[in-house]
């Protein structure tokens, strides 16, 4: 029929939007509830049945940054702006470092296999297998000895080491998928190894880079145990500060917690939104047959 649009492969219509919309909403619903809770006054939060229509208030958000720690006392600056900066700085730097070191290593593992490649890769994988509880004591002592406890450098190095296994494994699997013909053609034309890497291999694994960056960021962003023990007062990250907010005076302040969490979500959402383009782009080197 003439009015039906000829759909190309890879496209779908509004029906799929509706279905995906329902599922996405189901996933998003608890998060939405947290965001709504951030805007509610205390009575509305604990109301039965749950209130959907309420008058929003920004009190909780103000309380994130200025809080009266006991009844009748003056509101004090909680230094949460420093904690947010710390989280952004520490997570951002460690993710970028891990991407750099990890991608190079993955390229090395993929294109220049060493003897015992599988062993190295497996050892890298085992570093992820232990619950952090076990290594916490040696790492804590190590940091104390090296004077890294409470510094930016220490925690950034540690988080980079955390992100490395996943980065290496993920990027290696992407590099393995690339067909070598284009690279070989470039090499025959006299291009140096570095240029082959940057101009040919890297653009093709853009989706892998984006996904790895997203995961690394999320992992480091929400990390709690090591941040608790290895950051000092000046380098504290938001998850630690959040836990200190709960373990306190008046029981769980749901509104305050929700406000902190909502604010904490914003940078991650921004980064994922920016990276989305690369995530969904994929490869269009359609000229090579596998």
């Amino acid at each position: 029929m003439a009015w039906q649009r000829q759909r190309t492969i890879g496209e779908a219509g509004w029906g799929r939007t509706a279905f995906a919309g329902v599922i996405s909403f189901a996933y998003f619903f608890p998060v939405l509830w947290i965001i709504l809770t951030a805007f509610k006054a205390n009575n509305d939060i604990l109301a039965i049945p749950p209130k959907w229509l309420f008058t929003p208030t920004l009190d909780n958000f103000v309380e994130v940054f200025f809080r009266a720690y006991s009844k009748g006392a003056e509101a004090v600056d909680t230094r949460f702006d420093l904690f947010f900066f710390n989280s952004i700085f520490i997570a951002g730097t460690s993710v970028l470092l891990a991407l750099l070191i990890g991608t190079l290593a993955a390229y090395g593992f993929s294109r220049y296999p060493l003897r015992g490649n599988e062993t190295y890769l497996f050892i890298i994988l085992t570093t992820r297998m232990l619950p952090p509880i076990v290594v916490i004591i040696p790492i804590f002592l190590m940091f104390r000895l090296a004077g890294l406890s409470g510094t930016y450098l220490g925690i950034i190095l540690l988080y980079t080491a955390f992100n490395l296994p996943f980065t290496v494994w993920m990027m290696k699997s992407f590099f393995d998928e690339l067909s070598p013909e284009v690279e070989d053609a470039a090499r025959m034309d006299g291009s140096s190894e570095t240029r082959v890497f940057f101009k040919i291999c890297l653009p093709q694994v853009g989706a892998g880079l984006a996904a790895t960056a997203v995961f690394g960021l999320i992992l480091t962003w929400n990390e709690f145990l090591f941040a608790l023990l290895l950051t000092g007062v000046e380098t504290r990250t938001v998850p630690v500060a959040m836990a200190q907010t709960i373990g306190g005076d008046i029981g769980v302040r749901w509104g305050l917690l929700a406000a902190i969490e909502t604010l904490f979500l914003v940078p991650v959402i921004v980064v994922v939104f920016v990276l989305q383009h690369h995530l969904l782009r994929g490869v269009t080197f359609g000229t090579i047959k596998r």
Binding site: R16, F28, L104, P131, N222, P239, I246
Partner: protein
């Protein structure tokens, strides 16, 4: 060897060995010798902080010469070295330390120095019947949550594969569960499951008129944990599979359409090979993480009711921080590590064998 011979050999493209005593940036043997002489001398003769910096300089020189020597020849080694180096210092070394610690009798809240007990801790752990119970619980939780995540994540990826209006926005919404911090997820899911003012109970009350206590029974508590964990991490699987799905070249699908291949055939021959590696990766990582699962379990049920949903990780935590049996908990964890290594090896062996068969 004279300078002329060296140059001639280099022109022929053969590996040129710098004469031992020649100070070149690639002469790592000389640098190593220098370091071996300088470091002990410095430690003995000079005050400690000066000696430290001198030793550091000597080590840096050795590293530099090794790198220059390897440049252009050992590509693989060079590329891989920083990653392995960092991992060694930050992860493997503490691992070995705590592994050594598991052979001693060490309690973190007593000042007594550790005493050597050999395999004592391991014996005590393996003969404890509680452990087998916890392992069962852990296995159950792991299997359930990993299966849920893989299935749901895979279906989600299929859903988001094609372009449709609003795909960007909806993708963002689906990714949000991963972005929440564990503290928030645990606290808020506990709130949802709360019998009096939790959302789940109120929803059920619309139908039955009675408050619904989910966390009362073992089955209910398990369901609560698995649901929260699968909710949080199925976007992870989705993202991985999606990154693979969008890498499939379009022309393959077009060719399949021309040949009028069925959906299943298309999936099996075109799509699946591209995402196989990533599916395995997702399976591997989620299983490893599931064994380590602590935050969600602890915050929602604290291992309850009683101790029926206490996974190994929660038990380890209890041992280490409540009872301060540090060495015992370390021994237990290494047993767990052993199990996970065995399982992972099975995965990898299975996959490599199938890949070899396919080729």
């Amino acid at each position: 060897m004279s300078a002329a011979t060296t140059t001639m050999a280099a022109a022929r493209g053969r590996r040129v060995r710098a004469p031992f005593w020649q100070p070149r940036w690639s002469n790592w043997r000389l640098a190593l010798l220098l370091a071996l002489v300088v470091i002990p001398a410095a430690v003995l003769a000079l005050p400690l902080d000066v000696a430290f910096w001198l030793a550091l300089g000597a080590v840096a020189l050795v590293a530099l010469t090794a790198v220059v020597n390897a440049w252009g020849r050992h590509h693989g080694g060079l590329l891989v070295a920083p990653a392995i180096g960092l991992l060694f210092v930050m992860n493997i070394f503490p691992l070995m330390w705590s592994f050594g610690l598991s052979f001693f009798n060490f309690r973190a809240n007593r000042a007594a120095p550790p005493t050597f007990t050999g395999l004592g801790n391991y014996e005590r752990v393996l003969s404890d019947p509680v452990i087998w119970d916890r392992l069962q619980t852990t296995a159950l939780v792991v299997v359930l949550t990993v299966v849920c995540q893989m299935v749901v994540g895979f279906l989600l990826a299929l859903l988001f594969e094609k372009k449709f209006p609003g795909r960007r926005v909806l993708l963002m919404l689906v990714l949000t569960p991963m972005m929440l911090s564990f503290v928030a997820v645990g606290a808020f899911f506990r709130y949802y499951y709360e019998p009096t003012f939790g959302l789940l109970s109120q929803a059920v009350r619309l139908f039955t008129g009675e408050p619904f206590i989910l966390l009362d029974t073992t089955g209910g508590a398990l369901a609560g944990i698995v649901f929260a964990d699968a909710w949080m991490w199925s976007p992870f699987v989705m993202l991985l599979v999606l990154a693979g799905l969008v890498s499939v070249p379009q022309y393959l699908y077009e060719a399949a359409e021309i040949d009028r291949a069925s959906w299943w055939r298309r999936f099996r021959t075109i799509t699946f090979p591209y995402i196989k590696g990533l599916l395995l990766l997702a399976l591997l990582f989620r299983t490893i993480e599931a064994f380590k699962l602590f935050d969600v379990v602890f915050l929602i049920t604290e291992g309850g009711p009683g101790t029926s949903t206490e996974t190994i990780a929660v038990y380890v935590n209890r041992l280490a921080f409540k009872y301060f049996r540090t060495s015992q908990s370390t021994a237990l964890v290494y047993i767990l590590l052993f199990i996970v290594i065995v399982l992972t090896n099975l995965y990898l062996y299975f996959v490599q064998r199938r890949a070899a068969e396919a080729d």
